[in-house]
Symmetry: C2
Subunit: 306 residues, 2 copies
């Protein structure tokens, strides 16, 4: 079964890792949000792409779910001495990725090409695509500060400002990265990973051609919300601030007419009846590598029966 | 006594450190060669400037004389994994300098301004100038490979190719950095540090306006060659390959009509008579911090008597 997964950062990477444990590498393609990408200390940073690649390569920091395993922060310490703000924590091992990617992009290479080369170097055999080779910038509209870039909101201000809405800067000019539409056309199913719908999945879905390409496919989403709380990140806070009660149901309704099936946690079983598509009620937490594999297997079985 | 020192890398930095131990900070200005500067892994590297600044800041690697004290190489290790060549060894702490300098230069700041800010951050109070804010590239003409960039010759090929000559690319367009000519005009003496005449000092002297600015001043050079061998680096090898016997005398003749005085080692005392200017014969090795101070003090006394 050929799967295309749409993923943001840590939650998405975990499910992708579960799928990678089961599927032959050539049957798994991941399309990763790049709306969070930004330039920082003169370097091009692509947080979700790195999280997915590092996770599949087995070199991710297991405690945070992002950044590199056993990393040090000597560059950052010394940047601080030069009065460079250190709100975005970049480890030394991680920085090598940003330095070489930035060099290549400045040379005119495309992000998808750089990602492919890096995956080869890291031994990641699945196809990992940035959603686009053109820049798309997720802007978070807030009550206190107006529009903020995503990392400013997410990392610098720790998601404290009240959210009023979102905008994806550059989205109308951006195209899906080469190979993305083709991978979708060959897929048996599209999995929307348990990533933040507003800022991780919506940017991918908003790209020209993506909705029409996936519309003919089975599409299954996994809730990133469990018992009214986000497993990680500000998804639940965002729903509340936008006047929607955060719940698995809210996620299902978010994707509504796209879905063929929906996966929610045992704790939210009571919401299952209100969801208008087939549901799989299971343990969605993925607390360890085996938990990722198990959820992935449950989903593949579910897709098979749809 | 106000001193302007012309310096390259390690040898220059040592004498500058000796002078800094004696002179009030406002009486010492250093003009540093930037002909060795180059772009590597997308970053602007200024080796001589960093060596001088790190030395004065007390954060230089004491074993190599360049790079940072107690540095690690985690970025480099991971760049290597991405198939980036690691012939130029950049430590993690050192990289912070290159990252922030590159960001600022790309923003349009001048190298002299960036250097001034970095010196403030590192607690270096003496005035350290890059010789120019415009790029000058030292090219080494070799029998085997034709013209090589300096770092290609010096670091990558370990000075193995046979030297035929030198060229300073961009030298006619480059101007002395703002403040350089003024500092010279206020100086009581110019010290040419024991740096490589061909590739560390000649680029500074070749800049428009430098020779005429220093011509009215006492100029004292220190030999970087001792008993026919360079204390460090390829200076002696270069002289030999260019058909000149490497010696303190050859250095004195190199600077010839510029000099008011010349400093050479006790081991070369026999050459003293052949040198047409006043000489100071002393221990020039500077094997430790006290040795640097002692040579600097000997020189200041020598200048005073000239």
């Amino acid at each position: 079964m050929k799967i295309v997964a749409l993923a943001g950062g840590v939650g998405g990477a975990k499910l992708v890792d579960g799928l990678a444990q089961i599927l032959p590498f050539e049957d798994l393609t991941v399309i990763v949000n790049t709306g969070d990408d930004f330039e920082h200390i003169g370097l091009y940073i692509s947080p979700d792409l790195d999280t997915v690649c590092y996770t599949l390569a087995g070199i991710v920091n297991p405690e945070t779910g992002w950044g590199r395993l056993d990393d040090t922060f000597h560059v950052l310490e010394n940047l601080k001495q030069l009065n460079v703000s250190d709100w975005f924590r970049l480890g030394d091992r991680d920085l090598a990725t940003h330095i070489e990617r930035t060099r290549r992009l400045r040379e005119g290479q495309h992000l998808s090409q750089v990602t492919r080369d890096f995956c080869v170097a890291w031994g990641v055999r699945q196809r990992i695509f940035p959603m686009s080779d053109q820049p798309v910038g997720t802007l978070v509209n807030t009550s206190e500060f107006g529009e903020l870039t995503f990392q400013e909101y997410f990392v610098h201000l720790k998601c404290a400002p009240k959210v009023k809405g979102f905008r994806f800067n550059g989205i109308t000019e951006a195209l899906p990265a080469p190979g993305v539409i083709e991978a979708i056309s060959h897929a048996d199913a599209i999995i929307i990973c348990p990533s933040n719908p507003w800022v991780s999945i919506d940017p991918i879905l908003a790209l020209t051609g993506i909705r029409s390409a996936i519309s003919a496919k089975k599409i299954i989403a996994v809730s990133p919300i469990l018992a009214g709380r986000a497993v990680k990140g500000p998804a639940a806070k965002m729903y509340t601030e936008l006047g929607i009660i955060p719940s698995a149901l809210a996620i299902a309704q978010h994707y509504d007419n796209l879905l063929s099936g929906f996966v929610l946690d045992n704790m939210d079983i009571s919401q299952s009846n209100e969801i208008r598509v087939e549901t799989l009620v299971t343990d969605i937490l993925m607390i360890n590598k085996e938990g990722r594999r198990r959820l992935a297997q449950d989903m593949l079985n579910f897709i098979h029966k749809l």
